[in-house]
């Protein structure tokens, strides 16, 4: 069992189909497969214990991922936007490494590092003769190691074994289900689980992948039109910027008719954005996917039919589904548990636990998977009576005010719907009286006016009085990381 099987099968079934387009160059499935075998051969000869790639999306990304898998060596992509110090700290944890990067600052002769420039790597793997290779078939071998974004401290190294990733793909994608004319636009960064899973899903579906290395909404729209893109995955901030850009009349002329489906995930989607997207793209099927690095990506889906039904409904309960992340996929079991591990009823908020063959729950030095296979996600949420999952935030972000648990999402969801408010975050701040109190960081819509008193009374009207913030401050923008995750730790620091 090896994720390289996906590329091997794609190359077997449709060798000449276009697998990848990057900056105008095309690569077939057969070319990609041979290049990955050549890469595997290079990795094996270097006697490295890890393969790492630090850089933007390029053909080197799928080739290094699949080549490392064939060689039985963990693939560890690293965020190229990190500081040199942070990168060196991570590299120290994956030694000896075969490193593919454009960043020549990282060559350090004293360590056990094989450094290769991305361009040289690509020239080599496309020119070398196809080697004889026996793929490692151990299902428990590590396929991918991803450093979590470290929004709460030192980055953890999440471990995904071949069995997890293979289970995920076999459970969610049908082989060669893509038609020849289908093309997917990949703009998520290569060091993110969504970047890894989009490559594997597309390869197993034999879908044409179009890489957009540096997300830019105008470029995304142009590529969609020029390459007749049929599907794409976006994080919420990307969709927000695309919607903003589309309101600019310069883009009226673009033909986006080829676009059939958009999946989104990786962070909380503001309700007004998905509503606008559904109106702007009436012929596009939207899917909301919720998953974590530790679960090999998607574990729940709000499918296109759910979106349409919610959008058309006058029933508030059904309409609210646009804020839900949907239902567990068939291979995943999901439970909401309380403080003492007891299973909670519908509408009760608690920690989300999941179980299934794609769930790893394992890090480089420790494993948080329970003996019976359940994984505590540290995400909190609740199920409605129809079984739709609603996320409330990270368990660690819950504000405990005078013994009462307040999830920031409750206040943020309400305020996001206010016309004067562009963005908002609720965080806990130390309070002598309550232990913790609610602080609200607010970004206003350009030229909108609303006072602190008006915000407080709006919250007072709609939620329990304990939700009314002790402090409200206005800012020009809120801090997000590059995949659209709100950096609450920084906001908390603003208030203390």
């Amino acid at each position: 069992m090896n994720i390289a099987l996906f590329l091997q099968m794609a190359a077997e079934a449709c060798p000449d189909r276009c697998a990848l387009t990057h900056e105008g160059s095309n690569y077939s499935y057969s070319e990609l497969h041979i290049a990955a075998k050549c890469a595997a051969n290079k990795f094996l000869r270097s006697e490295c214990k890890f393969v790492s790639l630090i850089g933007e999306s390029s053909p080197a990304v799928p080739i290094a991922l699949m080549g490392a898998a064939m060689a039985g060596i963990p693939y560890v992509p690293i965020n190229y936007r990190l500081s040199e110090k942070q990168i060196l700290e991570l590299l120290a944890r994956i030694d000896p490494v075969y490193l593919i990067t454009e960043n020549s600052q990282l060559s350090d002769l004293s360590s056990h590092r094989t450094l290769q420039k991305s361009n040289k790597f690509l020239t080599d793997v496309f020119e070398d003769n196809e080697p004889e290779l026996n793929c490692v078939q151990d299902p428990s071998a590590v396929a991918v190691q991803l450093f979590t974004s470290g929004t709460t401290g030192n980055p953890k190294a999440a471990i995904l074994r071949h069995e997890h990733l293979v289970s995920y793909i076999l459970g969610s994608v049908e082989f060669m289900s893509a038609l020849e004319e289908e093309a997917t636009l990949v703009s998520v960064p290569p060091y993110h689980i969504a970047g890894i899973s989009s490559l594997m899903s597309s390869i197993y579906a034999c879908r044409h992948i179009i890489q957009l290395p540096n997300f830019d909404p105008a470029e995304w729209l142009r590529l969609c039109s020029r390459e007749k893109v049929t599907s794409a995955f976006l994080v919420p901030t990307m969709l927000t910027r695309i919607i903003e850009t589309l309101s600019n009349s310069d883009y009226d002329q673009l033909n986006l008719e080829s676009l059939k489906s958009i999946a989104y995930g990786g962070g909380k989607m503001p309700l007004p954005i998905i509503e606008q997207a559904l109106v702007k793209f009436p012929n596009v099927s939207f899917t909301n996917a919720y998953g974590l690095t530790e679960t090999s990506s998607t574990i729940t889906l709000l499918d296109p039919e759910d979106h349409r039904e919610a959008m058309a409904s006058k029933d508030n309960e059904i309409r609210a589904r646009l804020c839900s992340v949907g239902k567990p996929i068939p291979s995943i079991q999901l439970e909401i548990r309380g403080e003492y591990g007891e299973q909670l009823d519908a509408l009760e908020t608690g920690e989300i636990y999941v179980r299934g063959p794609q769930v790893s729950g394992e890090y480089q030095d420790f494993n948080v998977l329970k003996n019976d296979g359940w994984f505590p996600t540290r995400d909190s949420g609740y199920l409605d009576k129809y079984g739709f999952l609603y996320l409330a935030g990270r368990v660690d972000d819950v504000i405990v005010r005078g013994g009462e648990n307040i999830s920031p999402g409750e206040i943020e969801d309400l305020m996001h719907r206010h016309p004067a408010i562009r963005d908002v975050a609720a965080v806990g701040i130390p309070s002598e009286e309550w232990g913790e109190a609610v602080a609200l960081a607010v970004v206003l819509v350009t030229e909108a006016k609303i006072t602190e008193e008006e915000i407080s009374s709006h919250i007072q009207q709609h939620l329990r009085s304990s939700r009314v913030p002790e402090v409200i401050r206005f800012y020009a923008d809120l801090p997000y990381n590059e995949t659209g995750k709100l950096l609450r730790r920084i906001i908390s620091e603003w208030f203390t």
């Binding site: 069992m1 099987l5 099968m9 969610s172 899903s201 489906s261 899917t287 998953g291 889906l301 499918d303």
Partner: protein
């Protein structure tokens, strides 16, 4: 020993499979001849040559056996003398 992840080849055609679910003691055949990691050429049973298709999953009646065809072939896959059938998988919308 059959175990999940095992890769087996046909001894009568090009077919290759990966075991997804299996129990010890099961014998998988293709075109009437045993499948193995390194098979020797064997004579096909012409009654068991209806073919298997890459990407299809094959299961027995109670779904205790499941294999994925990773390379198409002319032989059909049997387990302990029972022909495996293609499994219908529920199609999910693409989420990534």
């Amino acid at each position: 020993m059959l175990k999940p992840g095992s890769r087996l080849k046909s001894s009568v055609c090009d077919a290759e499979i990966m075991v997804i679910k299996a129990m010890s003691g099961n014998v998988l055949t293709c075109g009437g001849a045993p499948m193995s990691e390194e098979p020797k050429k064997a004579q096909a049973n012409q009654e068991q040559m209806r073919g298997c298709l890459i990407g299809k999953r094959y299961v027995n009646k109670d779904e205790t056996i499941e294999v994925l065809c990773v390379k198409s072939g002319k032989g059909s896959i049997y387990c302990n003398g029972e022909e495996l059938m293609t499994k219908d998988t529920k199609k999910l919308p693409s989420s990534d």
